[in-house]
Symmetry: C2
DNA sequence: ATCGACAATTTACACGTGTAAACATTAATT
DNA sequence: AATTAATGTTTACACGTGTAAATTGTCGAT
């Protein structure tokens, strides 16, 4: 089963640094999302069921560590969107943003650099 | 409220050609998705509630037309992913696919062309 | 005017999600 | 040992989604 959006917010915390306790996770994500303690606990349990994180005992509490990597998660999400909307190809996606004038100077510069690097291989 | 994935499959049919009757939509999308008549009817009604399509009477049936454009839908979906996973910037997304070796020859060629065109403006 | 066919609208139901309270367990403190 | 504080586990509930059956409405043919 897929990691939901709220669950992903918890994963983001763990991807930044792990292992972490529920309390630490709450401290980092609670204020921003307006979440109570119970909410984070639930999300952690669902992530455990989904095998997206693991927990190891540390005294009276647990420390959580990601099992699903950010790379993998990002790949799945990106591929999903690409397949659904752009026939699985990257160029049309970029073209879309280009048409919407959503490419920043920085984006363009970075894309140029990227293509140049691909040349050198 | 957002157009869901199943609903989007119905929208795709209407984006290809409209207006269309429920029966026509079913004929086009039913087999591929394995959907019964009732399923398509439900999805159409939800799309009506969401103001994503409109219906005009044609004899004893209705003909449906998109109100939400594919452009707009694609923009929303893409922006959502970009903001959630790539800090709102396009270049990191492309870099991600590049690292995963998911850029086809064709993609690369098209991206080159795109950047060249941006130059000429 | 009634019946039948067809199409739309309503209702249904299981499951995931966002959100959290209630309850249980465990370790520390009195 | 009993109580309390901290933390984890279970239960809850409303809402959206995927899927479709049941019901209602309507036009055309007897």
């Amino acid at each position: 089963m897929a990691v939901s959006e709220a669950e992903a917010a918890v994963m983001e915390v763990l991807w930044r640094a792990s292992p972490r306790s529920a309390e630490e996770i709450l401290a980092e994500v609670g204020p921003a999302q307006g979440w109570q303690e119970g909410t984070v606990k639930s999300l952690l349990n669902r992530l455990l069921k989904k095998k997206a994180v693991k927990a190891e005992k540390d005294g009276r509490r647990y420390l959580y560590t990601p099992l699903l990597s950010r790379e993998k998660y990002v790949s799945q999400e990106s591929k999903g969107l690409l397949d659904r909307l752009f026939d699985g190809r990257v160029a049309p996606l970029v073209a879309h943003f280009s048409e919407q004038r959503k490419l920043s100077k920085k984006d363009i510069a970075e894309l140029r650099k990227l293509l140049k690097e691909l040349d050198d291989e």
